[in-house]
């Protein structure tokens, strides 16, 4: 069975159908490329074929893109010179797509080519969009579920099969840049406006056939292959284009904080390509594409944000042999911000939801959160009145615990107090079915301790959401000592239902994510006490690719929460608790009543609407600024190592069982430098020996919290990498 097949119809149209066996959506492989090439050659050579339509055998979609594993293979197969392999492989793709575009026409007269159209039943992404862009006319079905676009940038690369060069030439650099830089997938109407597709048709295959049979020579000549082509919006040194290009670099720089190599490379390919003819532009695109693939960042991003994220979502760590545990009826205890969000995403996934709080008003308030969310969606035209009604009907807001009867999953999101939680657990367990799984959304309390209140500790588990629930992509599942496999499977199946990405970790203080985030925030606070400018700390983090710096993050999550966690941890740990000037700062801020954004006063000053005006300079009366400010690099290293060393320790202690979860979780939960692929990928990138050496330097200068974990020391000595030593394949071998 081949991925591509060529058939002829009675009218003399050659139909090339893309239908990868055994897949629900087409992806491009090496074999696919060579089969497509053969089909094109045959069709062009066959005198009976007057025109060609490329379509898909999959219902509702054309293709999802390139098999990203291929990029790694291309690199490996090139042996000593991976750049050469990647460049030549890319140029081969260009040659194939260019052959489609020129369709056998005479190079001088541009006559005698065979019309080639694309008929897309639905979704086309990546090379699935770049292939149609090389044809002469793109027809797409009136399919409301379909999405079109070039999302490569999301995994740290950019469209490298001509998509960049063709879109820039088709719609102009200024119109193409946001599409390429943001990688948004568009519905069919927007995709037409953007230039991804040319025509929307009820039957795209029929429309495409009709078009190829009637197309004239001139219809086959792309604007950029015709004489007198001018780039829409102006080329870089055209007066109209000049300021746009100057502005583009600045905007991309500001937006990405210089932390994403792919964005720079993409913009460079656009600029350099815009200055030359089309074929030279493709060569330039291939060189920049190669350079992005050669950058360790792209490999790490593809691994974490595409391959491993998908693997985790598809149950890579789900216990074997447990039947489907999909949730039908869920009980959410506590209708505060977290409970309300959990109810929302559960109802969204089609579950029946019972939302409990101490009185009707409190429970209703939680449900109102979903209503407000849906109203916003309606305003934007994304939610219909029927959908809103159906979703709200699925949520029962009540103070009556009896309504929890029949639930198969409970998620408790009540006040973070072990006593309150224990009481709730016992009350609820008296009502729910025997086989119901009970989960706690605690972010700070050990699951094993909470499970002691349960009659069925093997059915007790942690499902830790991040705030705001409906926006955050990650869910951290925590296994207590007694937690059984079915509870884990239940939690994983639930997370799959609400379309989030799960990681599963073992129980320990702060689990995995908060364990890493807290030292990050504390390191920022410590630096303030040393007199480092708060803005330097936040900017250092932003330039590492973090969405917000630690100081701003503290204001967002609130100072009193930080103080509360510090006090609780100290109480729990006793003498083992390491005293920190960071705590002094947080307690002092709390005393000043500067509790953060919610109080409109924290490390920042805010206006009446809660908008940040600037850093609060009153801070420096208590903590004067140091005359000599540290270098950006020094601040960045402290912030990075504070986090990654916790990740390594979590692995060492068995809290993390799989480095993939450590990497994916870090990016999705707290925005850990996405370009790095996560904490473990980052250490692999800088190398264990250097990381260990830097630990020693930081320890000497700043203290024991930077002490090199024995595991890292050992890896440094052996010259190992995390993915070399801990990747699941290696484990199996």
């Amino acid at each position: 069975m081949a991925d591509f097949t060529l058939t002829k119809d009675a009218d003399g149209v050659g139909i090339i159908t893309w239908d990868v066996p055994g897949k629900t959506m087409n992806v491009m492989s090496f074999d696919g490329l060579s089969e497509l090439n053969d089909c094109i050659d045959q069709a062009l050579a066959d005198d009976e074929i007057k025109g060609i339509v490329i379509t898909s055998g999959k219902e509702g979609s054309f293709a999802g893109g390139m098999d990203l594993n291929l990029l790694a293979v291309m690199k490996e197969q090139a042996g000593d010179d991976p750049a050469k392999g990647l460049f030549e492989g890319t140029m081969k793709m260009h040659a194939l797509l260019r052959k489609i575009e020129l369709a056998g026409m005479d190079p001088k007269t541009k006559k005698g080519g065979k019309p080639i159209a694309a008929a897309l039943p639905g979704t086309a992404a990546g090379i699935g969009m770049e292939l149609p862009l090389a044809t002469h006319r793109i027809f797409a079905a009136e399919n409301p579920k379909a999405k079109y676009g070039l999302p490569e940038i999301m995994v740290g690369i950019f469209p490298g099969a001509g998509g960049t060069t063709r879109m820039v030439r088709k719609v102009g650099a200024i119109a193409a840049a946001p599409l390429l830089l943001e990688g948004k997938m568009l519905d069919v109407k927007k995709a037409k406006g953007a230039g991804y597709i040319d025509e929307i048709a009820a039957d795209p295959l029929a429309a495409a056939k009709e078009w190829v049979l009637n197309a004239k020579d001139a219809d086959l000549v792309k604007p950029w292959d015709a004489k007198g082509y001018k780039m829409p919006g102006g080329a870089p040194y055209h007066p109209a284009g000049f300021m746009n290009f100057v502005g583009a670099s600045a905007m991309v720089n500001g937006k990405t904080q210089g932390a994403f190599p792919a964005a720079k490379a993409l913009l460079s390919a656009v600029y350099e390509g815009a200055l030359v003819d089309f074929d030279t532009a493709l060569k330039i695109e291939a060189r920049w594409f190669t350079s992005v693939l050669m950058n360790p960042s792209s490999g790490a991003m593809i691994r974490s944000l595409f391959l491993n994220k998908e693997a985790l979502e598809k149950g890579a760590v789900r216990p074997k042999g447990i039947p489907d545990q999909s949730v039908k009826k869920i009980g959410v205890l506590g209708a505060g911000m977290m409970g309300a969000g959990i109810a929302l995403v559960s109802a969204q996934a089609g579950m029946e939801v019972v939302l409990i709080d101490r009185d009707q008003a409190a429970a209703d308030k939680g449900k109102a959160y979903t209503e407000a969310y849906l109203d916003k969606g309606m305003k934007r035209g994304k939610v219909t009145a029927e959908k809103k009604e159906a979703m709200l009907a699925r949520i029962t807001a009540t103070p009556d615990l009896e309504k929890l009867a029949g639930c198969d999953l409970i998620i408790e999101a009540v006040f973070e107090d072990p006593k309150v939680k224990a009481e709730m657990t016992q009350k609820v367990e008296a009502i729910i079915p025997e086989d119901c799984i009970f989960a706690s959304n605690t972010s700070t309390l050990p699951i094993t301790e909470l499970a002691k209140a349960s009659k069925r500790p093997d059915q007790f588990i942690g499902i830790h959401f991040f705030s705001p629930v409906e926006k955050m992509f990650l869910v951290e599942i925590i296994k207590g000592k007694e937690t059984g496999d079915r509870a884990v499977a239940k939690a994983l199946d639930y997370v799959r239902q609400i379309r989030k990405t799960p990681i599963v970790v073992n129980d320990a203080r702060f689990f995995y994510c908060n364990r890493c985030i807290i030292p990050y925030i504390n390191e920022g606070a410590r630096m303030i006490t040393e007199g480092v400018k708060p803005v330097l700390i936040d900017n250092a983090a932003r330039q590492l690719g973090f969405p917000v710096g630690p100081i701003q993050l503290t204001d967002e999550t609130s100072i009193d929460l930080g103080a509360k966690i510090a006090r609780a941890t100290k109480a729990a740990m006793g003498d083992a608790y390491p005293e920190s000037p960071a705590d002094d700062l947080i307690f002092w801020m709390e005393e000043q009543g500067r509790l953060g954004r919610k109080a409109k006063a924290g490390f920042f000053d805010y206006d009446e609407n809660g908008k940040r005006i600037g850093y609060w300079h009153g801070l420096h009366e208590k903590y004067p600024l140091a005359e000599q400010q540290p270098s950006l690099q020094e601040v960045q290293d402290r912030l990075m190592f504070a986090q990654v060393l916790e990740a390594v320790r979590a692995l060492e202690e068995g809290v993390l069982e799989d480095i993939r979860e450590g990497d994916v979780g870090a990016i999705l939960a707290w925005g850990f430098a996405p370009w790095s692929g996560g904490p473990f990928s980052w250490i692999d990138m800088i190398g264990a020996p250097y990381a260990a050496e830097r630990c020693d330097q930081l320890t000497e200068k700043y203290g024991e919290r930077f002490a090199c974990p024995p595991l890292l020391r050992e890896m440094a000595e052996k010259g190992q990498t995390f993915y070399g030593r801990f990747a699941p394949e290696a484990k199996a071998a």
Partner: protein
């Protein structure tokens, strides 16, 4: 070593660089030729009197393109055996022409040169020659490119200059320029630009606004705030390079930045033998020259390191310099120079500068060397230093000494 002497320095008046500017009707090549002719006539030069004409010019496209120096020589009364070299070091082009010429003379490559430059900013707009550093993402993003006005505002923010300080410097520049004209202090250098029929087109700097005071400047909006804070947001780029800054303080506006004007200037430089041959008396010797590259984002701090460099190379101290010309590209550039060297503002730009009279990019470097020499002679002082900040992060300086 052979000495290089300044025998003469001339400049045209500076015309407003726009449609209603008096020099707007004059071509770049013609204004260059007028300037070269003045040097020839004033010094009775004949035949292959100079080895070359080194001509600074920034926007070398259209009428300023095609090696303007050679075109200017051919359009002038100079002998066709004198070739012509067009150069570009942005705002220091005119100074670099002088420095190059001086060093050629010192090195024995010819007895004399005419060096200077021209810029017709109203006819060939600034930036119309393109610039990879601004447009090429691989360079613009790596070097954190921001436009000059943003750089001037970064200087103000980084070194703590207020809008009031910048405005006060601008008011002082206007006052000094007005007084200089009142007292005819530019008489030695400024030539009258005449048409082909001998009719006067312009004989006086016309950009000046002598009545300028703090109040009138206070009414002006900052020029670079929009592009900095909103579209396309250059401040964010600035803070990538200067991450310790919370925000950029946008203090510059049309009134405390240099003016867009048309103008040209030339300096006659030669060795001792040249002077003897033409019976000319040297006015000053070019003691030292220097140039340097600096951070391209803050871009305009070059005068400080280049001055440190030239002083170190000559074994001089800042106190050895009697008078300074520091090009007033933006007020913060001069404020930073004064702050760094703690020099008396009364010694800097004694007769006003580019804020009052305008900054014809390719010519200014040569203009301020002439202005400095005139003032040294007027005050009967010995040593002067001229320096300019330069786009893309550079600095240039010249020390002259009366003989």
């Amino acid at each position: 070593m052979t000495e290089a002497y300044i025998y003469d320095a001339v400049r045209t008046p500076r015309g407003k660089g726009r449609k209603d500017g008096s020099l707007h009707e004059v071509t770049s090549v013609r204004l260059s030729a007028v300037t070269l002719n003045a040097v020839k006539e004033r010094n009775n030069l004949e035949g292959h009197a100079v080895e070359d004409v080194i001509w600074g010019n920034v926007t070398q496209v259209m009428e300023q393109g095609g090696c303007l120096a050679r075109s200017a020589v051919l359009a002038s009364d100079l002998d066709e055996s004198i070739p012509g070299l067009a150069i570009n070091r942005f705002c220091a082009s005119g100074m670099e022409a002088v420095n190059l010429a001086a060093n050629q003379v010192k090195g024995g490559a010819g007895d004399a040169y005419i060096a200077g430059g021209v810029e017709m900013m109203g006819r060939v707009p600034m930036g119309s020659d393109g610039a990879a550093i601004a447009v090429d993402p691989s360079l613009a993003m790596e070097t954190y490119f921001v436009p000059q006005g943003i750089s001037a505002d970064i200087i103000a923010t980084e070194y703590g200059f207020t809008r009031d300080q910048a405005d006060a410097l601008a008011v002082e520049s206007q006052k000094r320029a007005a007084k200089a004209w009142e007292e005819n202090r530019f008489a030695k250098s400024v030539i009258t630009v005449k048409d082909r029929n001998g009719l006067t087109i312009l004989d006086r700097d016309e950009y000046m606004r002598p009545g300028t005071d703090m109040q009138s400047l206070g009414a002006l909006n900052p020029s670079f705030q929009m592009m900095g804070e909103q579209m396309p947001g250059f401040d964010k780029v600035a803070m990538l390079k200067y991450p310790h800054l919370e925000k950029i303080n946008h203090i510059h506006h049309a009134g405390n930045s240099s003016g867009i004007v048309d103008g040209a200037a030339a300096v006659l430089i030669g060795n001792k033998e040249f002077g003897e041959k033409y019976g000319l008396k040297p006015r000053a010797r070019i003691k030292a020259t220097a140039k340097i590259g600096t951070d391209p984002t803050i871009m305009l701090t070059g005068p400080v390191p280049v001055t440190e460099k030239i002083l170190a190379e000559t074994g001089m101290k800042i106190g050895d310099i009697d008078l300074f010309e520091v090009n007033e590209a933006f007020a913060s550039v001069v404020l930073r120079f004064q702050q760094a060297f703690d020099v008396d503002p009364a010694l800097v730009n004694v007769n006003g500068g580019s804020i009052a009279m305008g900054h014809p990019l390719g010519a200014t470097g040569a203009i301020i060397i002439g202005t400095l020499l005139d003032e040294l002679e007027r005050q009967d002082k010995e040593t002067g230093l001229a320096t300019l900040c330069i786009a893309s992060g550079m600095g240039a300086a010249t020390i002259i000494e009366r003989v």
